[in-house]
Symmetry: C2
Subunit: 354 residues, 2 copies
């Protein structure tokens, strides 16, 4: 009740998300024998008996991470699960369970929640994971979804972000940038609809982009494929914030440098054509767009023949010594340093989903 | 964008929290070998190798579950952890890890978050649990905290809600009703402060009540005590919603009845005196107040001598056949049926923390 008006204030956006988490958790120590790995990777690793458990959690807030004016609730439920499972796969694990907690204001009906849960259920079925708990409560405004995903893995199979070695190849799955462009298309349609409520959205030319934004998939298939091919990545991360942010996680945690070749970055034709239409640079979108939920990993050169020619996997660069830095080699053979974009989620709430 | 205006609407408050969860999860099936127990108890049980994992999650929303005008952030952080650990202990487990996700609006400074995390850290230290992950994001309004707690347990030691048998004794730890009265005292002080901002709160006579509301503890000590005494409860639950709600969970899941004796319900002297002052019935507060985070459990009669005389444990009743129903036997020897109070969190947001 008695508030100290002269309290010190530090802006959160100065720190950035990762700086903030690091700052807030730096005094915490690990005390349990069963904690193999805590904060600092896609998921925590817990060791109980002879198996390791993977654990990851995400909090999605209406108006920050999703906009219900173009995100159908079923898709939202599906996506909320998928983005968590993606973190389990990024550890090379098998996703097994989720818990789902939801806060909703009274503007949501039961039918709305049913649609949300139908999407959650579909994701559970498609990825063979079990819903094992959660919490449902009211909110004063809007909807919040908090999902925790659990996975299992044999100790020898865990892939962290910190294992990349010089000369390793950098590989990305699928293609990049489509989800971010899908969001731009949906935002534009929203503005058109606001101006003229009788307008009908014409999304036909952007179907792939919109699907990547509204119904992303996690690359469970790639984890199974790598197992089949006998390839264990030396490091791995999923692409939620954009290629440049993720490569910086791998290089800083592995204490290495990296060269990425612009002409190797996989782009869907719809990404290229829509970038032209929107006057955007496709490489920038691929580097910074985010929400692709593809996997970025490094492999030893001797594994190259095992993955060569697979349409799901593209070698986009290679790992170097740390002192060579992290660079994009452009089509014009220019070397551009890749630097942290910072975290704008706290300072600029409406700019992008996260 | 195109919203169907004629969509069907069902009020959520009709269903109640447990009805809602049941409704929303009824189509989900359990598919993973490692899922021993999903939705329906205090925590999920996962089996990996030779150990079982307990998993529980809670979502706390500003303005619904806590009021920052009288809840210091450090206490909030502490309490948010404790209420989750309480669910692990209610399974007879050992709490080992937590993840913490937080959404905050830009009205919170770094120092505010540090205070919150100081409380989280204190709880981690006091209960020997590790923070192993989480997510931090912005919110459009207020603060939200989502915590997931993990615990471990040997398969043979798990205590569910469904194991109570006729003639078992019903035992409660500590005393009941204080946390709810603490909230009433703080609410009254808030109103006084609103009317006269120069007033100084006088909480001296209510110190126990306020502490139970602002800094509850989970009964890890009781779990260790029961182990030492060689007592394994036949069923157990923690008291978060009030004694009457919890006893109905045990009796319905165990398919039994129960008699609770009013004169046996443990009450702190401050609860009795404050109930007189506020013109409240102490038994009603103990039955419906909630947030005590004590444990309610049943034991076989043959274990009675092991717990007899322990000041932490009070026998308040016994289990009966299902067809005898669930009753409170009053001091005047009247038999009053205990019925579900329903869940008012969605219909009446500001009435109580949950």
């Amino acid at each position: 009740m008695l508030k100290n008006k002269s309290e010190q204030r530090t802006s959160l956006s100065e720190l950035g998300e990762f700086g903030l988490i690091k700052h807030l958790t730096k005094h915490f120590t690990i005390n349990c024998e069963s904690t193999e790995k805590g904060v600092g990777d896609d998921a925590a690793v817990l060791e109980f008996g002879n198996k390791q458990i993977l654990l990851t959690t995400d909090l999605l807030i209406e108006g920050v991470h999703f906009d219900l004016s173009y995100m159908p609730l079923k898709h939202l439920g599906y996506k909320a699960v998928v983005v968590n499972l993606s973190d389990i796969y990024a550890m090379n694990g098998k996703a097994t369970q989720i818990t789902v907690s939801i806060a909703i204001s009274n503007r949501f009906s039961l039918e709305a929640l049913e649609a949300l849960y139908a999407g959650i259920q579909l994701a559970c079925v498609n990825y063979t994971v079990d819903l094992v708990g959660g919490d449902t409560t009211s909110s004063t405004t809007g909807m919040m979804i908090s999902i925790t995903a659990i996975g299992e893995i044999d100790k020898k199979d865990v892939v962290y972000r910190n294992g990349a070695k010089p000369n390793d190849l950098l590989v990305v799955t699928g293609d990049l940038g489509a989800a971010y462009l899908g969001l731009q298309v949906l935002e534009r349609e929203k503005q058109v609809f606001k101006a003229n409520p009788n307008s009908q959205p014409d999304l036909e030319h952007y179907s792939y982009l919109v699907e990547r934004q509204l119904k992303p998939e996690a690359r469970k298939d790639v984890i199974l494929l790598l197992k089949k091919l006998g390839v264990k990545p030396t490091s791995m991360i999923d692409i939620s914030d954009g290629l440049s942010s993720e490569i910086l996680h791998i290089t800083s945690q592995s204490e290495v440098g990296c060269n990425i070749y612009e002409d190797k970055i996989p782009l869907d034709p719809q990404v290229i054509s829509t970038c032209e239409e929107f006057n955007l640079d496709a490489t920038t979108i691929a580097l910074s767009g985010g929400e692709d939920y593809e996997l970025l990993f490094t492999i030893s050169q001797e594994d190259f023949l095992k993955i060569k020619g697979n349409p799901n996997l593209t070698v986009i660069g290679h790992i170097t010594d740390k002192n060579e830095g992290v660079h994009l080699i452009t089509r014009g053979n220019q070397k551009i340093a890749i630097v942290a974009q910072g975290w704008n989620s706290l300072s600029d709430k409406d700019s992008k989903t996260h």
